[in-house]
C-alpha cells in the first residue's frame, strides 16, 4: 500500500479534531490576545484565580492521597475484588452536574444529611449553613469534587500498581523488610510515572473546573467559590463581553498548562535515560 493511502486512515479523526476543536480553539485563543493586559489587572479575575488555586490546591492532594489508598486496597487479593473495583468507579462515571444537585441537597442547611450526621454523633449542636458561608461553601465544593474524581486517580494508580512485580516484594520480604519499607522502597518509586500522570490530569481538570461550582454554589456566597471558568462564562453569557471572556480563557489556558506540566515534571523527577 502506498504510504499516502495509509495516512488516509487518519483522515476522519484528523478532520473531526481539526475542524471541531483545533481551529475554534486557535481562533478563540488568538482572539483573546488583545485583552490579556486588561485581564491581568482585573481584580475580579485575580479573585477568581485565587479561588481556583485554593480549590485545586486542597482538592487535588486529597484526591491523590485517597486515590492511592483505594488503589492499594483494590490491588489486594480478596473475594469480590472485581465488583469492588467497579463500585469504586461509580462516582467518576456519574454526571457531575446532576450529582452536584444531589450535593446541594446533602448540604442543605435545614434538611441536609451533612448536618444530621454530625448532630447525631454529637459533634455539633447548631446546623451549619454549609453553602451560605464562604469558607464552608468552598469546603463543600472540595468535598463534592474529592468524591467525584478520586476514582480517576484510583484507576490510574491501580493500573500502575499492576506493573509492580510481585517477586521484588517477596525478595525484600525475605530480607526482612516490613510492609511500610517495601511500600517506600519498591512500590512508590515504580509508581512515580503513574502518580505524575494522575497529578497532571487532575490539576488541569481542577484548575479548569466549571460544572460543579456552576450548579452547587453558583460561585457564591459573595463570590467565594467563583472560579476562573465561571468568570469567563459570565463575561460571555451575563455581561455580553465575549472579548473579555476570550482574554480570560487565553490567560487561564496558559496558566493552567504551565502550572500542571511543571508540577507533573517535578513529580516525575529527572529523567534517567
Amino acid at each position: 500500500m502506498r504510504s499516502s493511502a495509509r495516512y488516509a486512515w487518519l483522515l476522519p479523526a484528523a478532520a473531526l479534531l481539526g475542524l471541531v476543536l483545533a481551529v475554534p480553539l486557535a481562533v478563540g485563543l488568538a482572539g483573546g490576545a488583545g485583552g490579556t493586559g486588561g485581564v491581568l489587572r482585573d481584580r475580579a479575575v485575580g479573585r477568581a484565580a485565587w479561588n481556583t488555586l485554593v480549590f485545586a490546591g486542597v482538592s487535588v492532594p486529597l484526591e491523590m492521597g485517597l486515590g492511592l489508598a483505594f488503589a492499594l486496597l483494590l490491588n489486594c487479593d480478596f473475594r469480590g475484588r472485581g465488583l469492588a473495583r467497579a463500585v469504586a468507579l461509580v462516582p467518576w462515571a456519574l454526571p457531575t452536574a446532576v450529582m452536584a444537585m444531589s450535593w446541594r441537597w446533602i448540604f442543605s442547611d435545614s434538611w441536609g444529611i451533612a448536618n444530621d450526621v454530625p448532630r447525631t454523633l454529637g459533634l455539633m449542636s447548631e446546623p451549619v449553613a454549609w453553602l451560605g458561608r464562604p469558607a464552608t461553601a468552598m469546603a463543600a465544593l472540595i468535598a463534592a469534587d474529592v468524591w467525584k474524581t478520586t476514582p480517576f486517580v484510583t484507576l490510574i494508580l491501580l493500573a500502575g500498581l499492576q506493573g509492580v512485580p510481585r517477586d521484588l516484594h517477596e525478595a525484600m520480604s525475605l530480607d526482612g523488610a516490613g510492609p511500610a519499607r517495601r511500600f517506600l522502597w519498591v512500590t512508590l518509586p515504580l509508581l512515580r510515572p503513574a502518580i505524575a500522570l494522575a497529578l497532571v490530569f487532575r490539576l488541569i481538570q481542577a484548575l479548569g473546573i466549571f460544572d460543579l461550582p456552576w450548579v452547587l454554589t453558583g460561585g457564591g456566597p459573595a463570590d467565594a467559590t467563583r472560579t476562573v471558568s465561571l468568570e469567563a462564562y459570565d463575561s460571555v453569557f451575563r455581561h455580553l463581553e465575549p472579548a473579555r471572556g476570550a482574554a480570560i480563557t487565553l490567560v487561564a489556558a496558559a496558566g493552567i498548562f504551565a502550572l500542571a506540566l511543571t508540577l507533573g515534571a517535578l513529580a516525575r523527577g529527572r529523567r534517567t535515560e
Binding site: A13, V20, A97, A159, I256
Partner: protein
C-alpha cells in the same frame, strides 16, 4: 492488616455509593417526610409520586430523548472516526505514528474552562447553536482521543498471525479491519462505546451553552435547571427522582460491564 480489608472495602463502598443511595432514599419520600427534621434514613412511607411528577410536571421525557439522541449519534461518529485511526496507529507502521498519537491525546487535556468560550463562539459563527446534531458532533470530537487511545491498545494486543492469514486469503487492509479485527474485538469495541456514550450522556458545558431552548435540553442541563420560584420552593423530591433516573442506567452499566470497562480504562491508563 489482612483482617482490616473487609472493613476498608465497606468504607470504600459507602463512600462511593453514599450520595447516590441518599438520592434514591430521598426520591422515595413523600413531600411530608422529605422536609422532616431530623431526616429519616429509611423512608417510613414510600411513594413513587416524585417519579410521576417529574414526568408529568416537567419535560423530563423530552430531556431523556434529547440525551439519548445526542449520545447515540456522538458514539457512532466517535467510533467511525476512531476505529480506522486507532488501527492505522497500531498496525500500519506509519512514520510519525507516535507523534500523531500524542497530538490526538493532547486534545483530551483541555478542561472546560478553556473549551467553553472558543467552542461557543465558533458554533455561533457556524450557525450550530440550538442543534442537537451540533452538540453530538462536538461530543464526538471531545471523546475521540479517549476512543483512539483505548482501541489502539486493544488492536496492539491483537494476534498479528490472524491478520496475516486473512491478508494471504486476499483481504484488503480495510477488509481485515472490518471482517476480522472488529468482529473479534467486539468486547473492546463495546466497552469503548459504553464509556463514550456515558461521557456524552454526562456532558454539561457544551450542552448548556449550545442548547438554550428548553425543548432541546439534555438531561444534565435539565436537571441542573429544575427549580421552583424561590430558593425555598426547590422541588427536592422531583430533583432526587430525576437524579436517580439519570444515574441509574450509568451505575447499572458500570456494574454490569465492570470487567470490560475497568480493563478498557486501565489499558489506556497504563499506556499514557
Amino acid at each position: 492488616m489482612k483482617r482490616l480489608v473487609p472493613f476498608a472495602v465497606l468504607a470504600l463502598a459507602a463512600f462511593s455509593l453514599g450520595p447516590f443511595l441518599w438520592s434514591v432514599v430521598t426520591s422515595l419520600k413523600p413531600a411530608a417526610e422529605l422536609f422532616r427534621v431530623p431526616p429519616t434514613w429509611i423512608p417510613r412511607s414510600m411513594s413513587l409520586d416524585n417519579y410521576r411528577d417529574v414526568f408529568a410536571q416537567r419535560p423530563f421525557a423530552r430531556y431523556m430523548l434529547n440525551s439519548l439522541f445526542v449520545a447515540a449519534v456522538s458514539t457512532l461518529v466517535t467510533l467511525a472516526a476512531a476505529a480506522p485511526a486507532a488501527y492505522a496507529l497500531a498496525r500500519l507502521r506509519l512514520r510519525g505514528a507516535a507523534l500523531a498519537e500524542k497530538a490526538i491525546l493532547a486534545f483530551a487535556l483541555f478542561p472546560p474552562a478553556v473549551l467553553l468560550v472558543p467552542l461557543f463562539v465558533a458554533a455561533r459563527e457556524a450557525g450550530a447553536l440550538n442543534s442537537r446534531l451540533g452538540v453530538a458532533v462536538v461530543h464526538a470530537a471531545l471523546n475521540l482521543p479517549f476512543a483512539v487511545w483505548s482501541l489502539a491498545s486493544f488492536f496492539r494486543a491483537f494476534p498479528a498471525e490472524l491478520e496475516d492469514a486473512a491478508r494471504v486469503d486476499g483481504f484488503s487492509r480495510a477488509g481485515v479491519l472490518l471482517r476480522v479485527v472488529l468482529p473479534v474485538s467486539a468486547p473492546a469495541l463495546a466497552a469503548t462505546a459504553i464509556l463514550v456514550f456515558i461521557f456524552s450522556w454526562n456532558e454539561f458545558v457544551i450542552a448548556l451553552t449550545f442548547l438554550t431552548r428548553d425543548e432541546l435540553r439534555t438531561v444534565p442541563v435539565g436537571v441542573a435547571m429544575l427549580s421552583g420560584v424561590t430558593v425555598y420552593e426547590i422541588p427536592w423530591g422531583q430533583i432526587s427522582a430525576a437524579v436517580v433516573l439519570t444515574t441509574l442506567p450509568v451505575v447499572a452499566a458500570v456494574l454490569a460491564f465492570q470487567r470490560g470497562i475497568v480493563r478498557g480504562l486501565s489499558a489506556g491508563a497504563v499506556k499514557g
